[in-house]
Symmetry: C2
Subunit: 418 residues, 2 copies
């Protein structure tokens, strides 16, 4: 069978399964999730073995240490996977929720019902735990899923697919509700993103290159997250203790995450006071600083930032710093260079906080909190399939609700239009 | 200037204007809308004259009567335009609305704020009143708009553009907040739909061919409405008076609208009783019937429906009729042939109504009401930019809210992530 006809048949089966999933009862979906968790627990050895196969192939193909680390299924990661499945089972079911029912002058009663999107295609790289995460969120939100993980993880993903199928079967749900692509042929991705008749939305997870390519070539809507160039702006009326704590936490809590601060903006009125204290802390923590000319004048021995620094997602212990004069300059900088992921202001001034919240056009806008909070778990979504930097459908952390939409429902008593 | 650089500059100006629009006060936006209404009222003669120019060119280019009718700005249509602007001014402003604020265990308070999408591109055909409708909805929802109407209406649209600019100016809003494309070069559309850096969403309004082409070629998200193949299912437990009223109204209230019923499904248990009565009414009203073999057996002298009839949007006094055995067969037919626009069941049975509402995957699902109610005004949205048959972002009638999205806002007191 050609890759094209394989993908067509996967798509067709997903579309059919999506109908059954849309009407599946909450109890049934939870049963499937818990059975998957049990299957993972009882097949721990097989999973580790399959993963070892992937790791050996990876080593002989010369994968680097970071890639091998992401590929590895450790006992702790398997525990997390089991725990994750149980957590998703315990989340409220968003499907079927009815809201805003109201009567109209015509006598009809109108409102909205939350419904699954249908078939979701997830394209990701070599982390096998994403397979289970994506499967569980699509399943709980009543969608069918087509999962395409990195070819490096093919054996691990197929072993996980067996656990998923087992769970679906135990609950009496169609085995095609979650399909893990069996071919490592790269052409499969091309077909997956160009089948609007079978796939309703694509969620790519991975590097910027992958996501840009998919967005460019997709013929179905994409919920995407490009980069996270996040800012913290320390206002002239900031509480400086809060400012320092937040600026340190937003940069150094973790370096490789998309909600890590990459550029610090400091109001000229407080730069003299706050920057030397911050520089000392960053220095202790091993963070390299790159500053605008005014920052360099205050801090002396740091590298000058270039235009490129303002639009770089370092994902590393490097921080760009710019001194600005007031809120408007800070927001101009943010609206120019931010990737519209997460931006924060530190201020005690009510009106400036209010303006920042309204005027900064990012998926998460914060006052006096670390950008590191931009996360589905921290926001109380219970889980997250990704963080959207798009503007339509879903912005920010995407949980179960982001995998659904709302249709209109109309209840009448024989009404006709006059 | 080439069309490409013209469109680039339009895009760039729209992006800049969108920032000012996002923070524009409600009062300011309403002032602009009312000033536009006054400008239209006071320039009635100029508008009619510009429209006459379009009509004369249209006649000499051999446009058909229907097209000329859509192109014409009659005094009544100008009155409607003025009334429409005033109505949009009176609608509540969706921008800035904050919802779901809740505290998290970390101490941060998190919720959502409704925000404009940014820049909206609207592509439509030769009806000049769409220019004002689209401009007013984008403006009120805090977006910048780029409007591209059919070349047949260029003089009318430019005359309307002057009224729009006047209104923006009076309110102190940037003139580039609503730009009406000045070139009739078709290449302009191609550029408009491939500038993700300047345009956040495209709303095409027009025939299926136009919309399919735009969806295929667009590099930005499209909120689209393809066709309206709407169904009414008369269940075995329908109140037959309601059933007949709804079936007649859904087909004959207007033939050319997307929420008009195109296929009637009747349960085999009641077909003998209900079909002859309906056929008589349809016959009086001049509706041509095409039936499945069982329908033909009951009604005798009607044409047999072919497979093609089930997926045809007639937009004409033609109706396809099929007899089905029970709810499941009816929903199978709908989920196979419906364009997911609007589908209705007529029944007095609670459980069947409940299943139909949940399991039919259309943007509007109705019980005991005419499909003709699927409309922004009837639903209380106040206005409508179109009806979406998409599944992500917005389904069904799209009003002001559909031209916005929600960002997360986080209020803290110095919280950092542990």
């Amino acid at each position: 069978m050609s890759v094209e006809s394989y993908m067509q048949s996967v798509g067709q089966q997903a579309r059919t399964a999506s109908r059954a999933m849309a009407r599946a009862e909450t109890e049934q979906k939870n049963k499937a999730l818990l059975a998957m968790a049990e299957a993972v627990a009882s097949k721990r050895d097989e999973l580790m073995q399959a993963n070892e196969e992937d790791l050996q192939r990876g080593r002989s193909n010369g994968l680097d240490a970071a890639m091998l680390d992401r590929l590895a299924l450790t006992p702790a990661r398997i525990d997390n996977m089991i725990e994750g499945l149980r957590q998703v089972a315990s989340l409220p079911d968003p499907v079927g929720e009815i809201s805003d029912m109201a009567y109209r002058p015509s006598g009809i009663q109108i409102g909205k019902m939350r419904v699954p999107l249908g078939v979701i295609g997830i394209i990701y790289e070599s982390r096998p735990n994403v397979t289970m995460e994506a499967a569980s969120l699509c399943l709980k939100s009543g969608n069918a899923a087509i999962l395409r993980g990195g070819s490096e993880a093919i054996a691990s993903n197929q072993a996980l697919a067996a656990c998923i199928r087992h769970g679906l079967q135990v609950a009496g749900l169609p085995a095609e509700a979650v399909q893990v692509i069996e071919t490592t042929d790269r052409a499969a991705v091309g077909y997956l993103i160009t089948m609007p008749e079978f796939v309703d939305v694509i969620v790519p997870r991975g590097g910027k290159g992958l996501i840009e390519r998919i967005s460019r070539e997709a013929r179905v809507p994409v919920i995407k997250h490009l980069d996270g160039i996040c800012h913290v702006y320390i206002d002239s009326e900031a509480d400086l203790t809060k400012a320092i704590n937040i600026a340190i936490n937003a940069k150094t809590h973790r370096y490789g995450t998309c909600n890590t601060m990459e550029t610090l903006l400091v109001d000229g009125m407080v730069a003299d006071v706050v920057l030397p204290q911050l520089a000392e802390r960053y220095h202790e923590l091993g963070v390299e600083l790159r500053g605008c000319s005014r920052t360099c004048a205050i801090l002396g021995d740091i590298q000058a930032a270039t235009e490129e620094d303002w639009s770089t997602e370092y994902l590393a212990p490097v921080l760009a710093i710019r001194i600005v004069d007031g809120l408007d300059q800070a927001m101009d900088h943010i609206n120019t260079y931010s990737s519209q992921h997460t931006d924060a202001i530190v201020t005690e001034n009510y009106s400036k906080a209010r303006r920042f919240l309204r005027e900064v056009d990012s998926s998460s806008v914060m006052v006096n909190a670390s950008t590191r909070f931009a996360d589905g778990f921290e926001y109380g979504l219970g889980a997250e399939i990704g963080i959207s930097t798009d503007k339509i459908h879903a912005r920010g952390p995407v949980g179960l609700e982001g995998l659904t939409s709302q249709k209109y429902i109309v209840l009448g008593d024989g009404q006709i239009r006059r």
